[in-house]
């Protein structure tokens, strides 16, 4: 399988990365190079093979559903580029 310019632009949109025409053009070649490299996986017979979901056989540890942390609003917004009254500030979303 290979990608064309339209696909690269669509993927860039999905990934939320602004991409100029020149960058997209360059990426077509690069992505096809990598996709060509991984293509060899299709020759492996995987009939009846389960996909790996975890390298270590273990059931996920769970804990009691109770509040163990919190009251850290100041810490949570401490690194934000724009905040007001412990809210994250973003450009207007709904007109």
């Amino acid at each position: 399988m290979s990608v064309d310019l339209t696909t690269v632009k669509r993927v860039a949109k999905l990934a939320r990365i602004a991409t100029t025409d020149d960058q997209a053009e360059k990426m077509v070649g690069e992505l096809n190079n990598i996709l060509g490299f991984v293509e060899q996986l299709s020759e492996v017979n995987v009939d009846g093979v389960e996909p790996m979901t975890s390298v270590v056989h273990m059931s996920m540890r769970k804990r009691v559903d109770e509040v163990t942390d919190g009251n850290k609003a100041d810490d949570i917004v401490a690194n934000a580029p724009a905040t007001e009254d412990n809210y994250f500030m973003v450009p207007k979303v709904i007109e």
């Binding site: 190079n33 990598i34 996709l35 492996v44 390298v55 270590v56 690194n79």
Partner: protein
């Protein structure tokens, strides 16, 4: 004045406990060494000198009160991927500009609890994506090693290039690092240092910026095998904050060093004899086999038939997980923000400006292989191949093999700005050809220096162990260290 930066952790530990030296003296010498060298090597992206001296003073206080904490007073460098409270933590990416977390990663907290002193944060490939430390927003790191008669700057490997360079140049007693496809073992191999990637689940991933969650593991880079054992002992823990951290039996790594190898089986996988393998690496591998025979181990030829598929499967699984993990960098909660005409425009401009070329490339690949219509063909197929890779190892271990011996890298360190590598990402990806299967199968692997090439550059061998049997790796790696000796870069910086 004695150069205290020459001491291993084990040596410094004795001198600190017997009050022959203080942590303030030891830490002071490391800070001075960093100040003198860092403009050249670029191993540190942030030096926390004042904090280091405060921690050293506190350690000295505890030492006079008789503290026997395993790392009491030992100065360490920390890879920039580890979250450190109120200290520069940016995964060497522009997108995390100015980020100083309000939390401490579990691994670094374990080190401080054991008395260690933090010297600063170490350079790395951006978000740990790279094999040469050239993708860092803070510029490349130089390898303290140079080829005989040459002044060309070499890469220290990656992604833990700052960690490897700092350890080799004596700018810290040891360093933390992380390994997703070879990022501890390849830089260790390039710098004549020891690097171990423990079993997946041995060290908590909590507070470490995520690259590929099913592959990432923390581990140390050190100047010898014993120091690696000491460091891993402190780094490893069972952590309720990481659901993939495994409650494995308590191990005592240092005690494994020096144990006899009589009756052990070392496997030699034929699939690692790759095309165009440099003669020197082939010879080094053979030398390793001879050392193990002399140590009383039995050498057995083994087959890991799906080895060649590990790297292509990795380049689906790792970018897929990365594209998901890196979705959080959106200019809202932390780091860089580039204004836009609306919120989507802000996301897109922020991520375009904040991520470097290699990171953008991997996010794109990951987004593509996970997108509607391609998931089965790429991601599901890769996860099935991953099962087969793991089964290859399980069969070999079930047949009685205790550890597997392979080369660590397909070459010695190459030059910064290498044209062939720069023009073709896959060339760079192939640096991980011997290390990546270990991550795909979640196994422990150690790189240990084994010799020098014709140009005088370090080369390493790798040992791969059974899950949660890191002790076997320290035991077997020590045989190579004992036979090959240690390797030091000639100081030019």
């Amino acid at each position: 004045m004695t150069d205290l930066t020459k001491l291993t952790i084990a040596e410094a530990r004795e001198k600190l406990r017997s009050k022959e030296i203080t942590s303030v003296e030891l830490t002071g010498q490391y800070i001075a060494a960093i100040e003198a060298a860092n403009a050249q090597l670029n191993a540190y992206v942030a030096v926390t000198g004042d904090q280091a001296m405060d921690m050293a003073k506190a350690s000295d206080g505890r030492l006079s009160a008789g503290s026997q904490a395993p790392l009491e007073g030992i100065p360490l460098g920390i890879k920039d991927l580890f979250g450190t409270l109120d200290v520069h933590t940016q995964a060497c990416s522009h997108i995390l500009d100015g980020f100083k977390p309000k939390y401490e990663s579990t691994v670094t907290q374990n080190l401080w609890n054991d008395g260690a002193v933090m010297l600063g944060k170490l350079n790395m490939d951006e978000f740990a994506m790279g094999s040469s430390n050239e993708t860092s927003y803070y510029g490349p790191v130089k390898n303290p090693w140079r080829a005989e008669g040459s002044s060309a700057d070499l890469v220290p490997g990656g992604s833990s290039g700052g960690s490897a360079s700092a350890v080799a140049a004596h700018l810290c007693a040891a360093a933390t690092a992380t390994d997703t496809g070879g990022s501890i073992r390849q830089p260790a191999a390039f710098t004549g240092t020891v690097g171990i990637k423990p079993t997946y689940g041995r060290c908590s991933r909590w507070g470490i910026a995520a690259f590929a969650s099913s592959l990432d593991q923390a581990g140390p880079i050190t100047r010898d095998v014993r120091d690696a054992a000491i460091m891993l002992q402190s780094m490893a823990s069972v952590d309720p904050k990481d659901t993939t951290s495994v409650d494995a039996p308590e191990a005592h790594y240092e005690a494994a060093i020096g144990k006899s190898l009589k009756g052990m089986k070392i496997g030699i996988p034929k699939e690692y004899r790759v095309e165009n393998m440099p003669k020197e690496i082939e010879a080094l591998w053979q030398q390793g086999i001879e050392w193990y025979k002399a140590a009383g181990a039995e050498i057995v030829d083994i087959s890991l038939p799906h080895t060649k598929y590990a790297l292509p499967a990795y380049y689906i699984v790792a970018p897929a997980e990365a594209s998901s993990n890196l979705a959080r960098y959106d200019g809202v909660r932390y780091g860089l923000r580039v204004p836009g005409k609306d919120i989507t425009d802000m996301y897109e401009k922020t991520r375009a400006a904040g991520f470097g070329e290699e990171v953008r490339r991997r996010i794109m690949i990951g987004t593509y292989v996970l997108s509607a219509g391609y998931y089965d063909a790429y991601y599901l197929q890769a996860q099935k191949v991953r099962t087969l890779i793991k089964q290859d190892f399980e069969k070999v271990f079930a047949a009685g093999v205790d550890a597997i011996l392979t080369p660590a890298t397909p070459s010695a360190a190459f030059e910064i700005g290498d044209k062939e590598m720069a023009s073709d990402p896959i060339k760079m990806y192939q640096q991980d050809i011997f290390t990546v299967a270990v991550n795909m199968a979640g196994l422990p692997g150690i790189a240990v220096p084994a010799g020098l090439d014709a140009k005088g550059l370090p080369l390493a061998l790798q040992l791969i162990g059974k899950p949660f049997e890191e002790e076997t790796l320290f035991q077997t790696a020590h045989i190579i260290e004992d036979a090959a000796g240690k390797f030091e870069a000639k100081k030019w910086w």
